[in-house]
Each structure stands twice: as C-alpha cells, then as structure tokens.
C-alpha cells in the first residue's frame, strides 16, 4: 500500500525522532499489530520506542530544553497510525513519566525517572477513576490510612494498562480522616510487585488485548515517602490535567490518519462506487487537519490551568473520539468485504476507534465535564 503524505501539521514535525518512530512503526510494529490486538504485549517495541525518546518528548530534556507536547503527540500519532494499542501504551508510559517528573520527589524524579525514560522500566496510569471522581462521576476506589512513615492502601481498580508484575503506575487514594471537611487525596506510584498487590486478568476485550491491562487489588499496601507523587494530590493534578488529556489526542490522530490512508488505498479501484458514501477521505482529511492544527496550538501551552484552556482541551479530545469513530467506520465502508476480514487493519481500526471513544475520558464523560465547567458560577 502506498501511504499518503502526512498532513501538513504532521509533516512539519518531520525530525529525527519522528523518522525513528516511523522506522519502528512501519517495521517491527507493523509485523506485530494483529498479534498485539489479539493479546501479545509488545515489550520490545515499547522499549525501542522509549530508547529513541518517543515517550518522553513532552518532559524536560537532558540538555535542559523544555518538553515539547506537540512532538510527543506527533510521535504517538506515527505509531498509532500502524497500531492504536501501541499508541495507547505510549500514552500510558508518557503520563507515568509526567507524574514522576512533576512530583519533584527526588526518589521518583531522579534515577527512577531516568530508567523510565530510557525504557528500562515500564509503567502506566490508574487515573481513570480519580479523574471521574474529580468530575463527580464516580467515587474514589482506593483508600489510604495514615500510618507511621506513610500510608496503607486498600481497595481495587478495575483496569489499568501497560502493566506486568515488575511494572508500576501512578494513581490516587482518598485519605481516611475522622474530619470530613479536611478530606484530601494522595497521589503515588504503585509498584505492582509490592507486598499486598495482586494483578488479576481482565475479561476478554473486543480488541487491543495486548495492552497489559489488569485489575489491581491492594490489601494493606504500604506507600512511603519514596513513592509519593503529591500530598495533597489535587494541586498537582490541576497542573497536569491539560497535558494529560491532550496527549491522548496523539493516539486518536494516528488512528484517524490510518483510516483515511486505507480509504485512499482503494480509491483507484473502488472510487466509482465509493463516491456514493458520506465521509469521503478528502472531507475527513480537511476536518482532521483543522482539528490537528487546534491540538498543536493547544500543545504549546500544556501548563495553562485556566478553565477556558481546559474546556478547549476537552473539546479537542472529544472531537478526536467522534472523528475516530466516523473515520474508522467510513474506512470499513470504503474497503467493503476486505475490511471485514478479521486480520484486516481496517477492521482492527474500528475497534481501536471505539476504544478512543470509550476510554477515560469517554465522549460522554467529556461532554458532562464540559457542561459542568461551562455553567455560570453563582454564590452558594
């Protein structure tokens, strides 16, 4: 298949990192994409991606230059264009690094972060439940009881991705206090191999089975100062929430572009019938280019904490979910029966697009949160 040229927003991102990611994506990753969808965890590909810096471009660089969220998104898009599951795990690894870096905790931001950035250790994020809790959609599932030198954590998270027995992830627990009004949360890195932690396999998903997704149960897990990201958690989360959500757009961008690519691939042969379909590739490309331009503009100021900025991030992310569904579905209509074959990338992308639309923050969560944040505030 001839891959079409990158859209202008991605093309301007052509640099050594993007070239390196493209080589991995179209080489070893393309070979494994179907296997990853069915359950193979691509540890080697992820480590290769980490080695070239594909999951740390948004973090301050070793030479002192600031992080580049636009570049991180472009790198994720490049991989997601071939395999959405891998793009999702890049996001997991990327935000886990963000937590460690933003913690300011020397025990996390030093050698542990350096190993993480190099891909020598891998990790994920268990912020789905906390994010829904802060948006008043769910209550916090993990509880922290203060003890000498730290906290004891109890509770279970239903599914956390990019995990293995020697991985770790960032998450949040509600601190149990007798005084209701003094309620607060802590954020910490949870080591999957710590005493009291059990990883349990999840039921089979429709796709993206190779994402290392487990339910995590904690029974009196001790978390000490070395693993604390923030106490209290909310000020740190307010600082990183924009970048956290925005980075997910990289996964969607790749899936959308991959879907458009596969429409063009059959245009010469099937254009005479495909012209009767809605959501034609040129129309989708125009809409996607405008969306990507909006995302890249937002990526210039990831630390903006205003409500107005966050609304823009949420809406861009929501548009990513909607356009992923439309593009993947239209690609299937354009390809017809060959796109309905189980091994077809077009078929796989439909399931990846559905994931973009339902993973936290899902389209419905985004709309509810935007409605909540848009209502004019009044005195209590």
């Amino acid at each position: 298949m001839n891959l079409v040229d990158l859209p202008p927003e991605l093309a301007t991102r052509s640099n050594p990192l993007i070239e390196a990611v493209r080589a991995i994506a179209q080489g070893p990753l393309a070979q494994q994409a179907y296997a990853i969808d069915r359950g193979a965890y691509p540890e080697n590909v992820l480590k290769q991606l980490a080695e070239v810096g594909a999951m740390s471009a948004h973090l301050p660089q070793a030479d002192g230059s600031p992080g580049d969220y636009g570049l991180a998104i472009a790198a994720m898009a490049e991989a997601s264009r071939v395999c959405g599951a891998t793009g999702f795990m890049m996001w997991c690894q990327g935000v886990a690094g963000l937590y460690m870096q933003a913690s300011g905790n020397p025990a996390l931001a030093g050698e542990r972060l350096a190993r993480h950035v190099r891909g020598e250790s891998l990790g994920g994020t268990g912020l789905s439940n906390p994010m829904k809790s802060f948006a008043q959609i769910e209550t916090l599932l993990l509880k922290a009881t203060p003890v000498e030198g730290g906290y004891l954590i109890n509770g279970a998270l239903p599914w956390v991705s990019n995990l293995a027995p020697n991985h770790y992830f960032g998450t949040v627990a509600a601190v149990s206090t007798p005084d209701e009004s003094a309620s607060r949360e802590i954020m910490f890195m949870l080591r999957c191999d710590a005493p009291g932690v059990t990883l349990k396999a999840c039921p089979e998903f429709a796709g993206m089975e190779g994402t290392g997704t487990f339910s995590v149960q904690c029974k009196d897990l001790f978390v000490g100062a070395d693993d604390l990201v923030a106490d209290p958690a909310k000020p740190l989360i307010a600082r990183i929430r924009g970048g956290f959500v925005l980075l997910q757009c990289g996964m969607a961008a790749g899936i959308i572009q991959g879907a458009i690519d596969s429409m063009w691939a059959v245009e010469g042969q099937l254009g005479h019938v495909n012209q009767y379909l809605e959501d034609r590739p040129a129309d989708l490309q125009a809409e996607f280019d405008a969306l990507l331009a909006r995302i890249m503009k937002l990526a210039e100021t990831p630390c903006d904490t205003t409500t107005d900025y966050f609304l823009n991030v949420l809406d861009a992310r929501c548009h990513c979910g909607e356009l992923s569904l439309r593009a993947a579905n239209s690609a299937l209509m354009h390809q017809g029966a060959r796109g309905y074959l189980m091994q077809s990338d077009v078929q796989r992308r439909v399931r990846e697009a559905q994931f973009v639309a339902i993973v936290t923050p899902a389209i419905k969560h985004l709309r509810k949160e935007m409605a909540r944040l848009s209502v004019q505030e009044m005195p209590a």
Partner: protein
Amino acid sequence: MSVATPSASLAPAEAAWQLYICHACGYIYNEQEGDPDSGLLAGTRFADIPDDWACPLCGVTKSDFTLYVAPDLSALKTRASGLASTHLTAPRSAPGIVVVGAGKAGWQLVQNLRSQLPDTPVTLVTACAGDVYDKPLLSVAMARQIQPQALVKETGREAAARWQVRLLAHTQALHICPESRTLRTTQGPLRYADLVLAHGAEAALLAPLRADLCWRINHLQAYQRFQAALGTTPRHVAIVGAGLIGSELANDLALGGHRVTLIDTQARPLARWPADQAGEPLLAAWSGLPIHFMGAVQLQALLREGEQYRLHTSDGQTVLADQVIAATGLVTPTRLARSADLIWQNGIAVDAQTLQTSVPHIYALGDCISVNGQSSRFIEPILRQAQTLTAALVRTDQRQAQMRNSAALPCAQPYAVRDAVVRVKTTSLPLSLH
C-alpha cells in the same frame, strides 16, 4: 503492427514486478512478495502460477485476476477536490440554520425566519431552558415580589413547538469549526448551513468581585437563585455599580422591602448620561426608601464573613451585607468568536447590510455584536437586526435553491445604529436618558 512492443522484448527476470488484482475480493498479488502460504515463493511471476492456485482470501482462481496498476494518489486527490462542489459531496440532509442563544434576539429571529422560510430546519441551542420572558421585568419582579416562574410567558418547549424549531436546551455551545461548518456542543456536533450567534453579553466581573461571592442578575435562572437566597425576610443587599441596571435593582429591591447599599466610583448614580443630570433628582426621589448611596468610592475587597459578605471601600468604609450584586457593566463572551477567528471590535464585528461576521455563513445579532465598533445592549435594535438578518438569510437560501430571479429576492434592509433613548424603570422617578 509487426513491431514488437518494448515490454515484450525484455526478459522476464529483468521486467518490473507487477501487481495483479482479484476481481472478487480486491486481494492484490504482488509478484515480488509471492504467496508463501500457498507455496508461491517471493519473485514468482503471475504467468508462472499454476492454474489451480486459488486466491488466498476468497478462493477464486487465477483467471479472475487482472493486471493492476496502482493509481497515482495525487491525481486521485486532485480529481476528488474538483468534485467537491458537486452534489456527490454535498451534505445528504439539509443542516439548516443553527441559532445560539434563546433570549430576545434568538426567539425574535426564529419568529421572523418562520414567516419567510417556513420549511428550513432551524435548531436553537441554549444554555438555559429556552423559556420566553421579558428580561427588563426581572428587576420589576423584585419590587412586586413576583415568583420567577410567573415571568415566563411561554416555556421553551412550547415556543419550539409553535415555531417548529428543534430546541437544544441546557446545551453549551463550545466551539465553531468553520471549515466543516460544525458547531460543537455538549450534546454533540451540529452541522449548519448558516450559523447565527445570539448569545448576548454577561455581567462583567472586575476584581475584587468574584463569581462565587456576588450575583449577576442577567437571566431568569440567576434571578430564581437570587430570590431563593434572599428568602422571605427583609435583607441587606449591596449593589456594586449605579448605572442603569444597578439603579433599577436598587429601586426595586427597596420597594420589595429590602435595605440597599448602592456603591459606585462616580459621585452620582447614572453618571454615564451626564447631559441628563439625573443622579441628583433620583437620589432625592429615593429619600423615602431604604437606599444608601456610597458615591465616589472604589470597592477594594469583598470577603465572605460567616453567612454574610464584608465589603471594604477605598475610603476605609466597610459594609456588611447579606447578598452582593455586581452591576458593573456587560461584556460579550469571546469563546465562540475566538474559536472561529471572527473579527472582534468591542464585540463580534458584523456587516450592517447583512449582519454577517467576518467569516462566511456565520452571522450574529443582539447584545454580542458591534457595528463599526459600537455595541448596543437594548431591546429596540434587536427587532430591526432580526429583520435585516432574516432578509440576508432568505437571500442565501434562495441562492442555494438556485432561484436566480432577482426580483423575487427581498430587499436588503441595512441595520442602522441609532442613538437610543433609554427608559429607566426607576419607579420612584421614571427617567428617559439620551
């Protein structure tokens, strides 16, 4: 012809690798890759494939394959872009006119549109319930202690049914994508043929005023909440800003039995209309009412103190009030205008001939617009704006319907900015300001 073609003169091994396509399922056989799963090594020429070989995807035989030349994608794209204006890529269902805002401007436009374009789909998007009421009566209702719901002349649902529009109530408009003519909302994206912004203006909040500490009584919902907060016993209300709104509210809250402290940076109320010198007579008319005017002071701090609010002014005075109202002027929200890069001049700049903004297919009317940099926050201009805009939208609609008979097009009625006479419903002393 007897001359051999160039390709026939090449030995097979030197010829370029060819592609062959299955007519049944679209599978492409690449000579360079072969079909190892079926025993065809990489480099197997199509001519050398045994006749009993079957398509690995759908099982048809070799005879159903023909030579395939991969299309030039750039040529395909160029052709596709040339088709963009034909019916093949036009929207399948008419997206119609989408109006943002169900205040006076939004409903007035709907009413005018329906008389001219009875069949065009119209969608009204509003953050509130869409109920029809007269905003100037919000203040009067306080004097007469009228229940908020009694101000509603027609519910949004009833009005939508009467005017045959789709009402999206309690829906926030978030972003405009002009390239795909889509309005993004909290109820999902809406396509539009033409978009009209009628979202009005909102009370400005300058520090130290804060949304969680003071009321902005600019719509029915805020009035409802404010009434509930006041309760049924007389209260002390501080109003910051003694312009038109602040003075009317002070007047009506005092008549409603509440004690009012009215604060302004100017020495007299209604100082924006110096020619009328209305401040002094108004204060005199208020002498029998529990209104305390604090002129020529700046508000320096506003703090919560238990259930009450403490206001500190620049000259060292403090006021303890049960509720605080901000009446320090109106500002136009910028979110939608910024999202579409609309030209902004003290509001959304529109062309007086058509009320079109700087971006095609996006129009605006009401409190959110400016004509030659001048905005207006009064009712009277809205009626004339709705007429001008309706005429413009009818012309667009007829152009789209390719009715080229220009005689059938309604005359454009340019909207003209006029100096408005402002009637102040300070019942203690009804005023007209110029």
